[in-house]
Protein backbone atom coordinates (compact mmCIF):
# COMPACT_ATOMS: atom_id res chain seq x y z
CA UNK A 1 0.00 0.00 0.00
CA UNK A 2 2.64 2.48 1.09
CA UNK A 3 4.76 1.51 -1.80
CA UNK A 4 1.87 2.00 -4.16
CA UNK A 5 1.23 5.59 -3.04
CA UNK A 6 4.91 6.40 -3.24
CA UNK A 7 5.20 5.14 -6.77
CA UNK A 8 2.11 7.08 -7.73
CA UNK A 9 3.53 10.30 -6.30
CA UNK A 10 6.72 9.51 -8.07
CA UNK A 11 5.12 9.17 -11.49
CA UNK A 12 3.03 12.35 -11.02
CA UNK A 13 6.07 14.24 -9.83
CA UNK A 14 8.21 12.88 -12.59
CA UNK A 15 5.65 13.66 -15.27
CA UNK A 16 5.14 17.17 -13.88
CA UNK A 17 8.85 17.95 -13.80
CA UNK A 18 9.50 16.49 -17.23
CA UNK A 19 6.45 18.23 -18.65
CA UNK A 20 7.43 21.61 -17.28
CA UNK A 21 10.97 21.18 -18.53
CA UNK A 22 9.66 20.14 -21.94
CA UNK A 23 7.24 23.04 -22.20
CA UNK A 24 9.93 25.46 -21.10
CA UNK A 25 12.36 24.05 -23.59
CA UNK A 26 9.78 24.07 -26.36
CA UNK A 27 8.76 27.66 -25.68
CA UNK A 28 12.39 28.70 -25.52
CA UNK A 29 13.06 26.98 -28.81
CA UNK A 30 10.01 28.53 -30.46
CA UNK A 31 10.95 31.99 -29.26
CA UNK A 32 14.52 31.46 -30.38
CA UNK A 33 13.52 30.25 -33.83
CA UNK A 34 10.90 32.96 -34.26
CA UNK A 35 13.38 35.61 -33.17
CA UNK A 36 15.83 34.32 -35.76
CA UNK A 37 13.23 34.02 -38.51
CA UNK A 38 11.58 37.34 -37.90
CA UNK A 39 14.65 39.28 -37.01
CA UNK A 40 14.31 42.96 -37.76
CA UNK A 41 17.59 44.53 -38.69
CA UNK A 42 17.89 47.58 -36.53
CA UNK A 43 20.73 50.01 -36.39
CA UNK A 44 22.99 48.78 -33.57
CA UNK A 45 23.81 52.39 -32.82
CA UNK A 46 20.21 52.96 -31.71
CA UNK A 47 20.64 50.39 -28.97
CA UNK A 48 23.99 51.86 -28.04
CA UNK A 49 22.58 55.37 -27.70
CA UNK A 50 19.57 54.05 -25.78
CA UNK A 51 21.86 52.38 -23.28
CA UNK A 52 23.76 55.63 -22.79
CA UNK A 53 20.63 57.71 -22.24
CA UNK A 54 19.11 58.06 -18.75
CA UNK A 55 16.23 55.76 -19.81
CA UNK A 56 13.85 57.55 -17.52
CA UNK A 57 11.40 57.88 -20.45
CA UNK A 58 10.43 61.30 -19.15
CA UNK A 59 9.36 62.63 -22.54
CA UNK A 60 11.11 65.94 -21.88
CA UNK A 61 12.63 65.87 -25.37
CA UNK A 62 9.17 65.66 -26.90
CA UNK A 63 9.68 62.09 -28.15
CA UNK A 64 7.95 58.90 -27.07
CA UNK A 65 10.58 57.70 -24.66
CA UNK A 66 14.34 57.30 -24.72
CA UNK A 67 14.37 54.65 -27.45
CA UNK A 68 12.51 56.94 -29.81
CA UNK A 69 14.88 59.78 -28.97
CA UNK A 70 17.86 57.52 -29.64
CA UNK A 71 16.37 56.67 -33.03
CA UNK A 72 16.05 60.35 -33.88
CA UNK A 73 19.60 61.07 -32.69
CA UNK A 74 21.03 58.30 -34.85
CA UNK A 75 18.97 59.53 -37.79
CA UNK A 76 20.49 62.96 -37.22
CA UNK A 77 17.13 64.60 -36.64
CA UNK A 78 17.97 65.92 -33.21
CA UNK A 79 21.15 66.64 -31.32
CA UNK A 80 22.08 64.50 -28.31
CA UNK A 81 21.98 67.61 -26.16
CA UNK A 82 18.23 67.88 -26.74
CA UNK A 83 17.73 65.43 -23.90
CA UNK A 84 17.00 67.64 -20.91
CA UNK A 85 17.78 64.88 -18.43
CA UNK A 86 21.25 64.11 -19.73
CA UNK A 87 24.32 65.62 -18.13
CA UNK A 88 27.05 67.11 -20.27
CA UNK A 89 29.09 63.89 -19.84
CA UNK A 90 26.25 61.75 -21.16
CA UNK A 91 25.77 64.04 -24.14
CA UNK A 92 29.45 63.97 -25.02
CA UNK A 93 29.57 60.19 -24.53
CA UNK A 94 26.71 59.79 -27.02
CA UNK A 95 28.30 62.24 -29.41
CA UNK A 96 31.59 60.39 -29.15
CA UNK A 97 29.91 57.04 -29.76
CA UNK A 98 28.28 58.40 -32.89
CA UNK A 99 31.35 60.30 -34.01
CA UNK A 100 29.73 63.71 -34.09
CA UNK A 101 30.68 66.94 -32.37
CA UNK A 102 28.89 67.23 -29.09
CA UNK A 103 27.33 70.63 -29.37
CA UNK A 104 29.02 72.89 -31.90
CA UNK A 105 27.77 71.20 -35.03
CA UNK A 106 24.25 70.62 -33.87
CA UNK A 107 23.45 73.26 -31.33
CA UNK A 108 20.57 75.44 -32.23
CA UNK A 109 19.49 78.69 -30.71
CA UNK A 110 16.28 80.61 -30.98
CA UNK A 111 16.15 83.98 -32.66
CA UNK A 112 13.23 86.41 -32.78
CA UNK A 113 13.07 87.55 -36.37
CA UNK A 114 11.76 91.06 -35.81
CA UNK A 115 13.57 94.35 -35.39
CA UNK A 116 10.50 96.49 -34.89
CA UNK A 117 10.72 97.72 -31.32
CA UNK A 118 8.18 100.19 -29.97
CA UNK A 119 10.00 103.15 -31.54
CA UNK A 120 10.45 101.59 -34.95
CA UNK A 121 7.04 100.11 -35.64
CA UNK A 122 3.70 101.85 -35.18
CA UNK A 123 0.71 100.52 -33.35
CA UNK A 124 -2.58 100.89 -35.13
CA UNK A 125 -4.64 100.86 -31.97
CA UNK A 126 -4.46 100.88 -28.22
CA UNK A 127 -4.50 97.62 -26.33
CA UNK A 128 -5.46 97.51 -22.70
CA UNK A 129 -6.01 93.80 -22.32
CA UNK A 130 -3.99 91.12 -20.62
CA UNK A 131 -0.31 91.56 -21.37
CA UNK A 132 0.11 88.31 -23.24
CA UNK A 133 0.81 87.92 -26.93
CA UNK A 134 -1.67 85.11 -27.37
CA UNK A 135 -4.47 87.06 -25.70
CA UNK A 136 -3.64 90.13 -27.76
CA UNK A 137 -3.69 88.07 -30.95
CA UNK A 138 -7.28 87.08 -30.23
CA UNK A 139 -8.42 90.69 -30.26
CA UNK A 140 -8.23 91.87 -33.86
CA UNK A 141 -4.77 90.37 -34.21
CA UNK A 142 -3.04 92.59 -31.68
CA UNK A 143 -2.20 96.28 -31.52
CA UNK A 144 0.87 96.26 -33.74
CA UNK A 145 0.40 97.74 -37.21
CA UNK A 146 2.65 95.05 -38.65
CA UNK A 147 0.68 91.86 -38.41
CA UNK A 148 3.85 89.76 -38.54
CA UNK A 149 6.01 91.57 -36.00
CA UNK A 150 6.81 90.95 -32.36
CA UNK A 151 4.02 92.02 -30.00
CA UNK A 152 6.47 92.31 -27.12
CA UNK A 153 4.12 91.04 -24.41
CA UNK A 154 6.56 88.46 -23.18
CA UNK A 155 4.71 85.21 -23.80
CA UNK A 156 8.02 83.73 -24.92
CA UNK A 157 9.83 85.17 -21.91
CA UNK A 158 7.43 83.31 -19.63
CA UNK A 159 7.72 80.15 -21.71
CA UNK A 160 11.51 80.07 -21.59
CA UNK A 161 12.71 77.77 -18.79
CA UNK A 162 16.22 79.21 -18.97
CA UNK A 163 15.55 82.93 -18.77
CA UNK A 164 17.19 83.47 -22.13
CA UNK A 165 14.66 85.90 -23.58
CA UNK A 166 14.33 89.51 -22.58
CA UNK A 167 11.91 92.21 -23.67
CA UNK A 168 13.83 95.32 -24.57
CA UNK A 169 11.90 98.32 -25.87
CA UNK A 170 8.87 96.18 -26.50
CA UNK A 171 10.80 93.63 -28.52
CA UNK A 172 11.72 90.11 -27.52
CA UNK A 173 15.42 89.40 -27.84
CA UNK A 174 17.10 86.05 -27.26
CA UNK A 175 20.36 86.00 -25.37
CA UNK A 176 21.91 83.26 -27.44
CA UNK A 177 24.52 82.35 -24.83
CA UNK A 178 21.74 81.30 -22.44
CA UNK A 179 19.57 79.61 -25.06
CA UNK A 180 19.70 75.80 -25.23
CA UNK A 181 17.42 75.52 -28.24
CA UNK A 182 14.58 73.69 -26.52
CA UNK A 183 12.02 75.33 -28.79
CA UNK A 184 9.45 76.17 -26.09
CA UNK A 185 9.31 79.79 -27.23
CA UNK A 186 8.87 78.72 -30.85
CA UNK A 187 5.76 76.82 -29.88
CA UNK A 188 4.44 79.68 -27.76
CA UNK A 189 4.82 82.62 -30.14
CA UNK A 190 1.41 83.20 -31.75
CA UNK A 191 3.05 85.01 -34.66
CA UNK A 192 5.49 82.21 -35.35
CA UNK A 193 8.42 84.56 -35.72
CA UNK A 194 10.83 82.77 -33.44
CA UNK A 195 13.05 80.37 -35.29
CA UNK A 196 15.58 77.77 -34.20
CA UNK A 197 18.74 78.45 -36.15
CA UNK A 198 22.20 76.88 -36.06
CA UNK A 199 24.23 78.47 -33.30
CA UNK A 200 26.97 79.10 -35.85
CA UNK A 201 24.88 81.57 -37.86
CA UNK A 202 25.57 85.02 -36.58
CA UNK A 203 23.64 87.10 -39.09
CA UNK A 204 19.87 87.21 -39.38
CA UNK A 205 17.24 89.13 -41.30
CA UNK A 206 15.23 90.75 -38.55
CA UNK A 207 11.96 90.87 -40.43
CA UNK A 208 9.24 88.28 -40.82
CA UNK A 209 6.77 90.19 -42.98
CA UNK A 210 6.32 88.82 -46.52
CA UNK A 211 4.39 91.84 -47.81
CA UNK A 212 5.73 94.32 -50.36
CA UNK A 213 8.36 96.81 -49.21
CA UNK A 214 6.39 100.07 -49.65
CA UNK A 215 3.46 98.62 -47.68
CA UNK A 216 5.75 97.75 -44.78
CA UNK A 217 7.49 101.12 -44.96
CA UNK A 218 4.21 102.79 -43.92
CA UNK A 219 4.32 101.41 -40.41
CA UNK A 220 7.86 100.22 -39.83
CA UNK A 221 11.24 101.89 -40.04
CA UNK A 222 13.28 98.70 -40.23
CA UNK A 223 11.50 96.28 -42.59
CA UNK A 224 13.09 94.06 -45.18
CA UNK A 225 12.25 95.82 -48.44
CA UNK A 226 12.97 92.81 -50.58
CA UNK A 227 15.61 94.77 -52.56
CA UNK A 228 17.72 91.63 -52.95
CA UNK A 229 20.88 93.60 -52.25
CA UNK A 230 21.94 90.86 -49.86
CA UNK A 231 21.39 88.15 -52.47
CA UNK A 232 23.42 90.06 -55.06
CA UNK A 233 26.36 90.69 -52.75
CA UNK A 234 26.40 87.30 -51.07
CA UNK A 235 24.80 84.88 -53.53
CA UNK A 236 23.51 81.56 -52.30
CA UNK A 237 23.25 82.59 -48.69
CA UNK A 238 19.71 83.96 -48.74
CA UNK A 239 16.35 82.81 -49.88
CA UNK A 240 13.13 84.70 -50.42
CA UNK A 241 9.68 84.11 -49.10
CA UNK A 242 7.13 86.49 -50.49
CA UNK A 243 8.95 89.82 -50.60
CA UNK A 244 11.35 89.37 -47.74
CA UNK A 245 14.75 87.79 -47.47
CA UNK A 246 15.62 84.99 -45.07
CA UNK A 247 19.06 83.71 -44.27
CA UNK A 248 19.25 80.24 -45.82
CA UNK A 249 20.07 78.34 -42.65
CA UNK A 250 20.43 75.08 -44.55
CA UNK A 251 23.00 76.48 -46.96
CA UNK A 252 26.57 75.28 -46.62
CA UNK A 253 27.83 78.79 -46.00
CA UNK A 254 26.14 81.22 -43.69
CA UNK A 255 26.50 84.98 -44.17
CA UNK A 256 29.42 86.32 -42.17
CA UNK A 257 30.07 89.61 -40.45
CA UNK A 258 32.22 90.64 -43.45
CA UNK A 259 29.24 90.04 -45.72
CA UNK A 260 27.32 92.56 -43.66
CA UNK A 261 29.78 95.29 -44.62
CA UNK A 262 29.62 94.54 -48.33
CA UNK A 263 25.85 94.19 -48.39
CA UNK A 264 25.00 97.39 -46.52
CA UNK A 265 21.33 96.62 -45.91
CA UNK A 266 19.44 99.87 -46.64
CA UNK A 267 16.98 99.48 -43.77
CA UNK A 268 19.41 97.86 -41.35
CA UNK A 269 17.21 94.84 -40.85
CA UNK A 270 20.06 92.51 -41.79
CA UNK A 271 22.13 92.48 -38.65
CA UNK A 272 24.35 90.30 -36.58
CA UNK A 273 22.77 89.13 -33.37
CA UNK A 274 25.23 91.18 -31.33
CA UNK A 275 24.52 94.36 -33.27
CA UNK A 276 20.81 93.78 -32.90
CA UNK A 277 21.14 93.40 -29.15
CA UNK A 278 23.47 96.39 -28.93
CA UNK A 279 21.08 98.64 -30.86
CA UNK A 280 18.22 97.82 -28.50
CA UNK A 281 20.31 98.01 -25.35
CA UNK A 282 21.83 101.34 -26.29
CA UNK A 283 18.47 102.84 -27.02
CA UNK A 284 18.10 105.92 -24.78
CA UNK A 285 14.77 104.64 -23.43
CA UNK A 286 16.29 101.40 -22.31
CA UNK A 287 19.39 103.03 -20.82
CA UNK A 288 17.21 105.38 -18.82
CA UNK A 289 15.13 102.53 -17.51
CA UNK A 290 18.03 100.28 -16.59
CA UNK A 291 19.88 103.10 -14.81
CA UNK A 292 16.68 103.85 -12.89
CA UNK A 293 16.53 100.19 -11.99
CA UNK A 294 20.14 100.22 -10.84
CA UNK A 295 19.49 103.24 -8.66
CA UNK A 296 16.46 101.75 -7.06
CA UNK A 297 18.47 98.65 -6.24
Amino acid sequence: MMCNILSQIDTSLLVAVVLMALIGLLLGLIIGIVAKLFKVETDPRIELVTSLLPNANCGGCGRAGCADFAKAVVAGEVAPNQCPASSQETVSAIAKALGIEASTSFKKVAVVLCGGDKNQTKNWTLYNGVSDCRSAMLIAGGPKACSYGCLGMASCVRACPFGAIEIINGLAIVHSEKCVGCGKCVATCPRKLIKLVPAGSKVHVYCNNPEKGPAKKKYCNVPCLGCRKCDKNAPGKFKFEGFHAIVDYEAAEQPTLQDLDTIKCPTNCLLSAQEHLAIEENNPDHLEKSSANAESK
Binding site: Q8, T11, V15, A16, G24, I30, V34, F38, K39, V40
Partner: protein, 199 residues
Protein backbone atom coordinates in the same frame (compact mmCIF):
# COMPACT_ATOMS: atom_id res chain seq x y z
CA UNK B 1 -22.14 21.08 -23.21
CA UNK B 2 -24.38 23.83 -24.54
CA UNK B 3 -23.23 27.34 -23.82
CA UNK B 4 -25.29 30.41 -23.25
CA UNK B 5 -23.72 32.74 -25.79
CA UNK B 6 -25.66 35.69 -24.48
CA UNK B 7 -23.83 35.28 -21.22
CA UNK B 8 -20.53 34.88 -23.01
CA UNK B 9 -20.94 38.07 -25.03
CA UNK B 10 -23.17 40.68 -23.41
CA UNK B 11 -22.45 39.20 -20.00
CA UNK B 12 -18.69 39.41 -20.47
CA UNK B 13 -18.84 43.03 -21.53
CA UNK B 14 -21.35 44.42 -19.03
CA UNK B 15 -22.41 42.09 -16.28
CA UNK B 16 -19.10 40.45 -15.51
CA UNK B 17 -16.93 43.31 -16.71
CA UNK B 18 -13.36 42.43 -15.87
CA UNK B 19 -12.32 45.73 -14.45
CA UNK B 20 -15.49 47.11 -12.97
CA UNK B 21 -17.13 43.97 -11.62
CA UNK B 22 -14.37 41.44 -11.16
CA UNK B 23 -11.68 44.02 -10.31
CA UNK B 24 -9.03 42.36 -12.41
CA UNK B 25 -6.53 44.32 -14.47
CA UNK B 26 -6.74 47.41 -12.29
CA UNK B 27 -3.09 48.26 -12.90
CA UNK B 28 -3.38 49.15 -16.60
CA UNK B 29 -6.85 50.54 -15.90
CA UNK B 30 -5.31 53.20 -13.67
CA UNK B 31 -1.94 53.38 -15.40
CA UNK B 32 -2.73 53.85 -19.08
CA UNK B 33 -5.96 55.78 -18.81
CA UNK B 34 -4.64 59.32 -18.91
CA UNK B 35 -5.20 59.73 -22.64
CA UNK B 36 -7.85 58.22 -24.90
CA UNK B 37 -5.23 57.49 -27.53
CA UNK B 38 -3.06 55.31 -25.31
CA UNK B 39 -6.17 53.74 -23.78
CA UNK B 40 -7.25 52.64 -27.23
CA UNK B 41 -3.84 51.12 -27.90
CA UNK B 42 -3.90 49.25 -24.64
CA UNK B 43 -7.47 48.06 -25.20
CA UNK B 44 -6.52 46.72 -28.62
CA UNK B 45 -3.54 44.89 -27.20
CA UNK B 46 -5.62 43.37 -24.40
CA UNK B 47 -8.36 42.12 -26.71
CA UNK B 48 -5.72 40.60 -28.95
CA UNK B 49 -3.69 38.91 -26.24
CA UNK B 50 -6.72 37.75 -24.23
CA UNK B 51 -8.29 36.02 -27.20
CA UNK B 52 -5.09 34.36 -28.29
CA UNK B 53 -4.03 33.38 -24.79
CA UNK B 54 -7.43 31.95 -23.92
CA UNK B 55 -7.48 29.86 -27.04
CA UNK B 56 -4.05 28.40 -26.30
CA UNK B 57 -4.63 27.85 -22.60
CA UNK B 58 -7.99 26.16 -23.12
CA UNK B 59 -6.41 23.84 -25.68
CA UNK B 60 -3.70 23.02 -23.16
CA UNK B 61 -6.30 22.62 -20.43
CA UNK B 62 -8.47 20.19 -22.35
CA UNK B 63 -5.88 18.16 -24.20
CA UNK B 64 -2.96 18.09 -21.79
CA UNK B 65 -3.93 18.85 -18.21
CA UNK B 66 -7.22 16.96 -18.35
CA UNK B 67 -6.21 14.33 -20.84
CA UNK B 68 -8.31 11.24 -20.26
CA UNK B 69 -5.58 8.87 -21.36
CA UNK B 70 -3.24 10.29 -18.75
CA UNK B 71 -5.95 10.41 -16.09
CA UNK B 72 -6.66 6.75 -16.71
CA UNK B 73 -3.06 5.99 -15.78
CA UNK B 74 -3.56 7.85 -12.53
CA UNK B 75 -1.58 10.89 -13.54
CA UNK B 76 -3.45 14.07 -12.75
CA UNK B 77 -1.72 17.23 -13.90
CA UNK B 78 -4.45 19.65 -12.84
CA UNK B 79 -2.21 21.18 -10.20
CA UNK B 80 0.14 22.47 -12.91
CA UNK B 81 -2.60 24.68 -14.33
CA UNK B 82 -1.46 28.05 -12.99
CA UNK B 83 2.22 27.72 -13.71
CA UNK B 84 1.65 26.37 -17.20
CA UNK B 85 -0.83 29.12 -18.01
CA UNK B 86 1.64 31.80 -16.94
CA UNK B 87 4.40 30.18 -18.95
CA UNK B 88 2.27 29.81 -22.06
CA UNK B 89 0.91 33.34 -21.94
CA UNK B 90 4.32 34.90 -21.39
CA UNK B 91 5.89 32.88 -24.18
CA UNK B 92 2.99 33.57 -26.51
CA UNK B 93 3.11 37.32 -26.03
CA UNK B 94 6.83 37.27 -26.63
CA UNK B 95 6.43 35.39 -29.89
CA UNK B 96 3.57 37.59 -31.04
CA UNK B 97 5.62 40.68 -30.29
CA UNK B 98 8.54 39.47 -32.38
CA UNK B 99 6.33 38.44 -35.30
CA UNK B 100 4.38 41.68 -35.15
CA UNK B 101 7.56 43.72 -35.25
CA UNK B 102 8.56 42.06 -38.47
CA UNK B 103 5.26 41.74 -40.27
CA UNK B 104 3.46 44.89 -39.26
CA UNK B 105 5.72 47.61 -37.90
CA UNK B 106 2.76 49.97 -37.84
CA UNK B 107 0.69 47.75 -35.60
CA UNK B 108 3.80 47.06 -33.55
CA UNK B 109 4.41 50.72 -32.89
CA UNK B 110 0.74 51.08 -31.91
CA UNK B 111 0.56 48.03 -29.63
CA UNK B 112 4.24 47.33 -29.10
CA UNK B 113 4.82 49.18 -25.88
CA UNK B 114 1.71 47.70 -24.32
CA UNK B 115 2.38 44.10 -25.19
CA UNK B 116 5.10 43.46 -22.58
CA UNK B 117 2.89 45.25 -20.06
CA UNK B 118 0.19 42.62 -20.32
CA UNK B 119 2.34 39.50 -20.46
CA UNK B 120 1.54 38.74 -16.88
CA UNK B 121 -1.54 40.89 -16.52
CA UNK B 122 -4.01 39.40 -14.08
CA UNK B 123 -6.96 40.01 -16.41
CA UNK B 124 -5.38 37.85 -19.09
CA UNK B 125 -4.54 35.11 -16.63
CA UNK B 126 -7.96 35.64 -15.06
CA UNK B 127 -9.81 34.82 -18.28
CA UNK B 128 -7.82 31.63 -18.68
CA UNK B 129 -8.41 30.59 -15.08
CA UNK B 130 -12.13 31.39 -15.15
CA UNK B 131 -12.53 29.39 -18.34
CA UNK B 132 -10.67 26.49 -16.79
CA UNK B 133 -12.67 26.59 -13.55
CA UNK B 134 -15.96 26.54 -15.41
CA UNK B 135 -14.62 23.86 -17.73
CA UNK B 136 -15.57 25.70 -20.90
CA UNK B 137 -14.81 24.17 -24.25
CA UNK B 138 -12.29 25.79 -26.58
CA UNK B 139 -14.65 27.82 -28.78
CA UNK B 140 -16.81 29.33 -26.00
CA UNK B 141 -13.62 30.09 -24.09
CA UNK B 142 -12.22 32.06 -27.00
CA UNK B 143 -15.49 33.92 -27.55
CA UNK B 144 -15.70 34.71 -23.85
CA UNK B 145 -12.11 35.98 -23.83
CA UNK B 146 -12.68 38.19 -26.86
CA UNK B 147 -15.73 39.83 -25.31
CA UNK B 148 -14.05 40.12 -21.93
CA UNK B 149 -11.28 42.00 -23.71
CA UNK B 150 -13.89 44.26 -25.28
CA UNK B 151 -15.37 44.85 -21.85
CA UNK B 152 -11.94 45.77 -20.53
CA UNK B 153 -11.49 48.12 -23.46
CA UNK B 154 -14.88 49.71 -22.85
CA UNK B 155 -14.10 50.33 -19.20
CA UNK B 156 -10.65 51.70 -20.04
CA UNK B 157 -12.01 53.99 -22.72
CA UNK B 158 -14.79 55.33 -20.52
CA UNK B 159 -12.38 55.93 -17.70
CA UNK B 160 -9.84 57.62 -19.99
CA UNK B 161 -12.42 60.01 -21.41
CA UNK B 162 -13.63 60.80 -17.90
CA UNK B 163 -10.08 61.52 -16.83
CA UNK B 164 -9.50 63.78 -19.81
CA UNK B 165 -12.57 65.76 -18.74
CA UNK B 166 -11.36 65.74 -15.15
CA UNK B 167 -8.12 67.38 -16.22
CA UNK B 168 -10.13 70.42 -17.21
CA UNK B 169 -12.39 70.42 -14.18
CA UNK B 170 -11.74 72.33 -11.03
CA UNK B 171 -11.02 69.63 -8.49
CA UNK B 172 -10.65 70.45 -4.78
CA UNK B 173 -7.02 70.31 -3.76
CA UNK B 174 -7.31 67.22 -1.56
CA UNK B 175 -8.91 65.21 -4.35
CA UNK B 176 -6.52 66.18 -7.11
CA UNK B 177 -4.71 63.58 -9.17
CA UNK B 178 -5.03 59.91 -8.32
CA UNK B 179 -7.60 60.48 -5.56
CA UNK B 180 -10.29 61.76 -7.88
CA UNK B 181 -9.35 59.07 -10.41
CA UNK B 182 -9.98 56.35 -7.83
CA UNK B 183 -13.28 57.92 -6.79
CA UNK B 184 -14.33 58.07 -10.42
CA UNK B 185 -13.37 54.42 -10.89
CA UNK B 186 -15.46 53.52 -7.87
CA UNK B 187 -18.51 55.34 -9.17
CA UNK B 188 -18.05 53.69 -12.56
CA UNK B 189 -17.89 50.29 -10.87
CA UNK B 190 -21.08 51.04 -8.93
CA UNK B 191 -22.79 52.00 -12.18
CA UNK B 192 -21.76 48.70 -13.73
CA UNK B 193 -23.16 46.82 -10.72
CA UNK B 194 -26.52 47.92 -12.10
CA UNK B 195 -26.15 45.31 -14.83
CA UNK B 196 -26.07 42.49 -12.29
CA UNK B 197 -28.75 39.88 -12.92
CA UNK B 198 -29.16 40.86 -16.57
CA UNK B 199 -28.04 37.45 -17.74
Amino acid sequence: MTENYLELTIGAVFVYNFVLTRFLGICPFLGVSKKIETALGMAGAVVFVMTLASFCTSVIYHYLLHNEALAAKGINLGFLQLIIFILIIAGLVQVVEIILQKLSPKLYSALGIYLPLITTNCAVLGVATINANVGRAVLPSTVFAFFSGLGFGLALLMFASLREKLDLAEVPKVFQGMAIALITAGILAMAFMGFAGLC
